[in-house]
Symmetry: C2
Subunit: 276 residues, 2 copies
Amino acid sequence: MCNVVYFNGKFSKFSEAMTNIEDRGYQFGDGIYEVIRSYGGVPFKLREHLERLERSAEGIRMYLPWSIEGLEKICMEVLNRSKLSDADIYIQVTRGTAPRNHTYSEDIKPNLIIGAKKAKDLSEKREHGVKIILAPDVRWKKCWIKSTNLLPNIMAKQQAKEVGAFEAVQYEEDGTVTEGGSSNVFAVFNGTIVTPSLKHNILPGITRAVIIEKAAEEGINLEEGALNVEQLQEADEIFLTSTTMEVMPVVRIEEKVVGKGKPGEIARKMQEVLLK
Amino acid sequence: MCNVVYFNGKFSKFSEAMTNIEDRGYQFGDGIYEVIRSYGGVPFKLREHLERLERSAEGIRMYLPWSIEGLEKICMEVLNRSKLSDADIYIQVTRGTAPRNHTYSEDIKPNLIIGAKKAKDLSEKREHGVKIILAPDVRWKKCWIKSTNLLPNIMAKQQAKEVGAFEAVQYEEDGTVTEGGSSNVFAVFNGTIVTPSLKHNILPGITRAVIIEKAAEEGINLEEGALNVEQLQEADEIFLTSTTMEVMPVVRIEEKVVGKGKPGEIARKMQEVLLK
C-alpha cells in the first residue's frame, strides 16, 4: 500500500477514513498534530515528537488516553502495514466529536489519526537551496502548541508558493524574525549560527533541537537569541529546519541573493551530521 | 426531523454527514463559517451573514463557487426540511479535500455544510443576566475573518465555563478590551453606549451592527471607540451581543457586581428593539 492510516482503531487508506462533520477538529480546529520522518523503516526522534504531542495536549487542556508507548506501537504498526521504508508519519488528535458548542464536557473522547505516506523527496531542493519570502507574522500567541489552527501558516506559505518561493519566514511588527510557515530559521554570521530563542513565539522544533546539539558536537558556535529582518538580509548563510525539510539551505530572500548564492558550508555540514 | 444538514449536495442528519480526514478544514482549520438565527421560519439578517461569509472567503483567498442567492436557497431548503421554526443555521465552507500539504492548488473544490438545529433557548439567561470572566486575548491578528481557527476562543470560553461564567471577554496586553469568545461587548456610561471600534482586532458582528443602528433610532448615544478593562469594571451596564445570545446583559465580572447587579435599562431596551 502506498498509504495507510489508523483512525480510532481501524486501518484503511487515507481516502477511506472519514470523520463526522461535528468532529471538533473540523468545526473549531480543536486538535494537535505531529509529523515524523522514518528512514529505512526507523522513525527519527519518535519519542521526542510524542513527548511534544503530550505538551501540546496539555497546552490546550486535552487529555490523551494513550501512553507514549501505546502511540509508538500504533506508529510502528502503521509503518509496517505501509511497507514504506522512507515515510512521513502524520499524527493528529482532536478533542472528539460532539454537537457544536464552543465549550466541551470533560468526558469527550479524542479522535486519533496515525498515518504513513511515502516521504516527499526534497533532496534536489536541499542540494541547490531555496528561495524564501518574508511575511508578517499574524499567528496567535501560543505557537509552542502544535495545533491544527494553521490558517495563517498556510496563507503565508501559499503566498510564498505564488512567487516561486519555498517558504515564508515570518516576522513580528518590530521586525523580529520568528520562524517559517512550517520550519525554524537559522542564520550564520562569521561562523556563528544564530536562531530565534524559544522566548519568541515559535514552535520548539525537534530538528531545531538536534541542530543545536550537533553544532555543539561539531564545535560550531550557536546562539539562541534574537534575529531581525535586516540582520537576516546580511547573513552569510541561512537555512531552515523541519522534520520533512531536514536542513534546507536558503539561497535567496525574495530577489536578494543570500551569501554566495549557493548553500553555505555550515548548512552542508549540518545536513551531513543531522541524522548521524 | 430535529436536525438536518446539507453537505456537498446531500441532505442527512448531522450524525450521518462524514468528511474525509484529509479535508483541509480538518487538518489545517482551512475554513470559514457563519451562524444565523431563524425566528418563526425566517432567518434574521441572512443576506448580511452571507455577505460576511464572502468577505471571510476573500480574506483567506478562498473562491466560493456559489452565489449569495444560491446559498440562500440551500439555507431555506434546509430550514424547510428541518420543519423547525426557531433554528440555528450553521454554514461552514472549507477549502476542500486534498492530500496533506500546506499549500493548495487553485482548482481545489470547497466543501459546503449548511445545517439547521433547534435554537438554544437562552431566554432565562437574558432575563437574569450572566457572569463573565476577563481573559488575555491570544488570538491571531485577523479576527475580522470568521474562520474555524477557534482554539483560542474555545479555550477562553472553557475557562469561563469552569468558574460558572457564561463568556470570557478578551483583552490585549495593554488592557484594551476586544471582544468575547463568541460575542461583541458593549458598556454603558452615563447613558452612552461604548463598544470597541472595528479598528481593534474584532469580528464585525452582525448583531453588533444592528445594535448600532437601533441605538441611533432610539436616540441613544453610542460611541465606537476603545474600552479598557478598568473602564469595563466601572460601567453602569455591560451587555454582549451575538446571533445566538442576541442581547445578553452582564451582571458580574468574575466576583465583581456590574452596576446594580441586574440587567440595565439600556440592555433591556436593546433586547426589546433588536428584532423589530
